[in-house]
């Protein structure tokens, strides 16, 4: 069933075990309008969008708070139905619990419905602090985009029994710290399924199999539009890159032929005024 009001954290949590959750991304007001008109439950618009989709970097790390806030506010105002979750920019939350709370408050003031902090370890403490400060927070385990240097690139996490067991321990610690949902990225399907079963909160998988409570996929991947790093496992539901190049190429052809402006939209001047004008300019 598709709700026509703003979805809440409770609505999404209630879907666990009943209906799969859909989590996609938005870049700006134009894409936010489309996502809000669709049946997607959640939209992400954090560090990845700023650094990669807008600035063209191959990593999410260069995002800074001031830049992300530029588009978060208008996106938050546009989304009347889908729940908005946004990852804090790299460097705004690691150093201390106070930093994390301050960064989370900036995001909440911009209008997000929840923040997301990647990773476990010391982040468990940060997450406990932001949740205690009243800021709803999502967790993110497995391949965390902000930790690709430590992970060793965009790769699968949890193919060894030991790392899989660590993922489960991290997930339980994060749940205990108060995250309301957990993104599980690039984790083997059977491991993600066990994590999903052991958690009371919903899991949202990316490349982690059908056993998760929901799925995450970027709109650009769904639409077949290019990103600075091509995803390994995404499924395209259209090829808008080809359609877009074709449309713009037709436009260029019309420009070269001098025929972009339709006759009925051409701005004209009466012959009488034109004659007076030509007399004036000599």
């Amino acid at each position: 069933m598709v709700e026509h009001r703003k979805l809440t954290i409770r609505d999404i949590q209630a879907k666990k075990g009943r209906e799969k959750i859909t989590f996609t991304s938005v870049n700006d007001v134009a894409t936010a309008r489309i996502v809000d008109a669709s049946t997607a439950d959640m939209a992400g618009a954090g560090a990845v969008v700023a650094a990669m989709s807008i600035m063209g970097y191959t990593r999410s790390l260069p995002s800074v708070m001031e830049q992300v806030l530029i588009y978060l506010r208008p996106i938050a105002e546009t989304l009347k139905r889908a729940l908005l979750s946004a990852t804090l920019p790299y460097g705004t939350y690691q150093a201390s619990n106070e930093d994390a709370i301050r960064a989370g408050i900036e995001y909440m003031k911009a209008g997000v419905d929840c923040i997301k902090i990647e990773g476990a370890g010391i982040m468990v403490d940060r997450i406990r602090a932001v949740v205690q400060a009243g800021i709803p927070c999502m967790g993110h385990i497995g391949m965390a985009p902000q930790q690709i240097a430590a992970i060793g690139g965009y790769r699968v996490v949890g193919r060894k029994a030991e790392t899989a067991a660590q993922l489960l321990r991290d997930a339980l610690l994060l749940q205990d710290a108060g995250v309301w949902a957990m993104e599980v990225e690039c984790v083997p399907d059977r491991v993600a399924e066990v994590i999903t079963q052991r958690l009371q909160i919903p899991t949202i998988g990316t490349g982690s199999g059908v056993g998760c409570d929901g799925q995450g996929l970027m709109t650009m991947d769904i639409w077949g539009l290019p990103q600075p790093v091509a995803p390994r496992l995404a499924k395209q539901y259209d090829d808008l890159y080809s359609l877009g190049v074709e449309a713009l190429t037709s436009y260029v052809r019309d420009v070269r032929a001098g025929g972009v402006v339709p006759a009925e939209r051409t701005i004209c001047m009466s012959d009488e005024e034109h004659n007076r004008f030509m007399d004036m300019v000599g």
Binding site: K20, I21, T22, D28, A30, T31, R33, V35, S38, A40, M52, I54, M55, G56, I70, P74, T78, R159, K160, A161, A164, A165, P188, D189, V194, G207, G209, L217, I222, W223, P226, Q227, K235, Y237, D238, L240, Y241, G244, V245, E246, A247, L248, S250, Y251, V252, V255, A257, V260, V261, R265, T266, I267, C268, M269, S270, R276, F277, M278, D279, V281
Partner: protein, 286 residues
Amino acid sequence: MSEAVPRGKLTIRDLQRMRERSEPIAVATAYDYVTTKLIEAAGIEVALVSDWGIATTLLGYRMSSQVTWDEALFYLTGVCRIAESAWIVGSLPFGSYQVSDGQAVRNAAKIMKAGADAVMLEGLACSVDRVRSISRSGIICVVYLGATPHYRRIMGGRSSLGQTAEEAAQLVREAQELEEAGASVLILEGIPHRVAVTIGQRTDLVTVGSGGTRGCDGQLLTTHSVLGMPEAMSPMLLRTYADFESRMLTALDEWCSEVRSSDFPTSKQTFSIKDDEFERFMGMIQ
């Protein structure tokens, strides 16, 4: 996916040569990775990072005058990082050049430091002085003239200018003054065909038509308009060449419905673990 062969970076001289050869110049808007890649793949010469587009398409403002300096620079910096061939024009947002010639030069220099090839400002009464200072500082100036956002604001939404002899003669005088001050390109918005032609004949400026203006050296259409993307209140919305909005919605809903029916993801979109490692994992967590 195919990529166009990079032709190397275009310059103002390339645009002037196209004018000399009567080869129409294609201009479109760019704001991010996708729009920049798309317009370059289509061979569009000029990428305009317009404050109007940032306002209405990306940030949901009603007017381009609401765009702040940080907002304009953020999107411009991205396009300049991504573009390989297009000649990039960065808008000086409202308020960033009106105060004084010094303010205009300082901010135009910041636009250049972001990686733009030229700056664009609206044709206000102060613009001849600003263009003179900016161009003397070694920065190429594009001036947005005619029924610009500023004009529409003060005229209560009127979207054309120059249909009387007096208005038309005034536009020609302004174009000549801007050329004398050092401008290189004019974007002519909402003015009659024959007036645009006269401006092209009476000046050596490269002219680009927008919003119903024909008869120029080049033509501007916003990329969102060409693609058929949602775009609030665009005066430049003349025609579309694709239906991105409905295609995007259909694709998104198809994905949502496949997720709900567990048809997405399949094994193709899923990572797996070897049986022996999975059994060891299950043994560890019992």
